[in-house]
Amino acid sequence: MSTPPTEVDSLDVPDAHAQSTTNVLAQLRRIWQGDSGLLPILIGLAALVIFFDVRSSVFLSAENLTNLFVQSTIFILLGMAEIWLLLLGDIDLSLGYATGLGGATAVILVSSNYRWPWYLALSLALVVTTAFSALSGFIVIRFRLPSFIVTLAMFLGLEGVLLYVINAQGTGGSVSVQEKVLYNLVNGNLTPLATWIFVVVVVALLALIMIRADSTRRSSGLGGRPFWITISKIVTLGVAGLLLILVFSANRSSFAHVVGMPFAIPIDLFVLAAGTFILTKTKAGRYIYAIGGNTEAARRAGVNVNKYRLMAFMLSGFTAGIAGLLYVSRLNGISTGIEGGTYVLYAVAAAVIGGASLYGGRGKMIHAVLGGLVIGTIDNGMSLLNMNAATQYIATALVLLAAVIVDSLARRGNTNTR
């Protein structure tokens, strides 16, 4: 019954010194297949960029790239909102209109009809979307209904509410942004110096976190992933940051001098960081994954399943509210023509294309960012190539189909190894 020492050793992760070429290959394979693997989506994104760059001379211009990032913001934020629910194995179809509701609340409250200070209006908008998602969540949990159906009802109801509220303003079915802060959320820029500082601080912070995590593991005798992986990650981040600085330092207007990083990007990154932090560092995040993986197991382990499901709904609504603020800022207002249905589909698509699973329990916030960028790139690139809306829809559909098929295959691969 006693354990030979060699068997205990096999529990340890092989350390950096012992790795050989086969080890590196195995590592690469793990990165490719791993459930957190970002490599496929990064390669796909790179392929899209190359394709559009070859076909269009302006695609990689500073002006267009900035535009692309801002365009993608709404997909990214909605995707992150949807991931909270996808992780549980739930879905919220009303998120598109919840976003509209948040945006409308902010726009209307700062409009000449009410003249609220911006900070109160924006805060209330976030409270409204959070409360709204909490209501959906409450109905789903209390009556044990599929979130699909409940949020489908909410989708229709919210569309009606939005039409009513916007028409009630008596401004002809649309309300424009009449307040500077809300307008600047997307249209304002950091100064070039602030852009530099922001990028450097973010990259340095991430590098510090990664190195610290590695060294804590090592000093606890746990071994860690090979050092070259951490280094290459940091280098990649640094290069990406440098490219961003280059893009945002170039003048992107022929009429005036427009430079600097749009505020939308720090907002995206902040939501990404906050979401990732909750999911990976807190009990709440751990429980959300557990519920999505095996609800009954979570319940038996003493997890208050309903509490954390409701919490995920509220986080989703809050994130959708932020998306709503950026939406109205970018479109400079809100109208009764808001396509909440299309947006929610893009939100789910962004999350799934990025690598989150529709079956629950698998996904990260970064997946929505990458998936949102893919959708934004297709959207942007096809417009540049003067392709019509029909082609754009079909192309996005094909990418989404490919993504869900990959998701399903990955899932099958996971269970097959048992």
Binding site: M1, D12, D35, L222, K281, R286, A290, G292, G293, A297
Partner: protein
């Protein structure tokens, strides 16, 4: 089941007959970790358990055997707090306890590993081991501490087949999953581990691993109660046997009092005459 030649010793074990509870002061051995006296459970008119008296000693493996519907699952659910017994008393280390919730059972030190194991395939081994009782530092998950403790628990239990404790549980083999579920119970300082059909879905070598794990548990002074249909497993791992038949505990005692033939007889007929009766007689 094969019928083996009768051993020379009398087939009916001396301790086999259950003594129905005396109405006066309960007398039982204080060395027993868990003692049940006169446990009954009814669902309406159905008497799933009738006056069960059973002692579970520490450091030994007790096998609970019986046919489908004999009341094995009902009995372990009573111990693990899924439902309270309709009548009877449960003593834990000599003191009477009332186990009305799973939480109460866990707090006493009773861990139940059900057949479905209740693991999250999308979480890794460490995350599963600590699910619901995560270690935190400044309010944040302390992954290092949890990983070290997991490594220690697994090596204490001589579980050596997993490559990394950061592997997703979904990628483990059936035996490894069972090991993780058991290790999880052990890590919660359980003194009684109840295993429901731990080898039901496993192949030969995996079964051997799990049986060895069960012996390791017992050698650490943990009381183990195993439900099993597989008499080969029972005879290779158990110290004691308890046989259920139609809701009553018809026989229990050290494994040496039984052989495969008598065990089968107890299971199927509720008694051990060497001549199988035509129909199981209800007591």
């Amino acid at each position: 089941m094969t019928t083996t030649p009768e051993p020379s010793s009398p087939a009916t074990p001396l301790v086999g007959r259950v003594q129905t509870e005396g109405s006066g002061v309960e007398v039982f051995d204080r060395d027993h970790l868990l003692s049940m006296r006169g446990i009954a459970k009814s669902f309406g008119a159905v008497h799933a358990l009738q006056r069960v008296d059973l002692d579970i000693p520490a450091g030994q493996v007790t096998a609970l055997i019986g046919d489908n519907g004999a009341g094995k699952s009902t009995l372990i659910k009573t111990i693990s707090g899924i439902w309270a017994p309709s009548a009877g008393h449960i003593y834990w280390k000599g003191k009477e306890v009332h186990i009305h919730t799973p939480r109460a059972a866990t707090d006493l030190g009773i861990a139940t590993v059900y057949q479905d194991l209740a693991l999250c395939d999308n979480l890794d081994i460490v995350q599963n081991m600590y699910l619901g009782m995560e270690e935190t530092r400044f309010g944040l998950l302390d992954e290092i501490k949890m990983e070290l403790a997991t490594l220690k628990t697994l090596s204490d239990l001589s579980v050596s087949t997993v490559k990394s404790v950061r592997q997703l549980v979904g990628s483990l083999s059936g035996g490894q999953r069972q090991a993780v579920a058991v290790a999880r119970a052990v890590m919660r300082d359980s003194e009684l581990v109840i295993l429901d059909e731990p080898t039901a879905a496993l192949g030969v070598s995996q079964t051997a691993q799990v049986l060895q794990l069960i012996r390791t548990l017992a050698s650490k002074g943990i009381a183990v109660l195993v439900i099993s249909h597989n008499l080969n497993d029972v005879f290779s791992v158990a110290d004691r046997i308890a046989v259920m038949h139609l809701g009553t505990l018809v026989s229990h005692g050290p494994i040496s009092n039984y052989d495969t033939t008598s065990a089968v007889e107890w299971i199927t007929t509720g008694e051990s005459s060497r001549h199988p009766t035509a129909s199981a007689s209800v007591q």
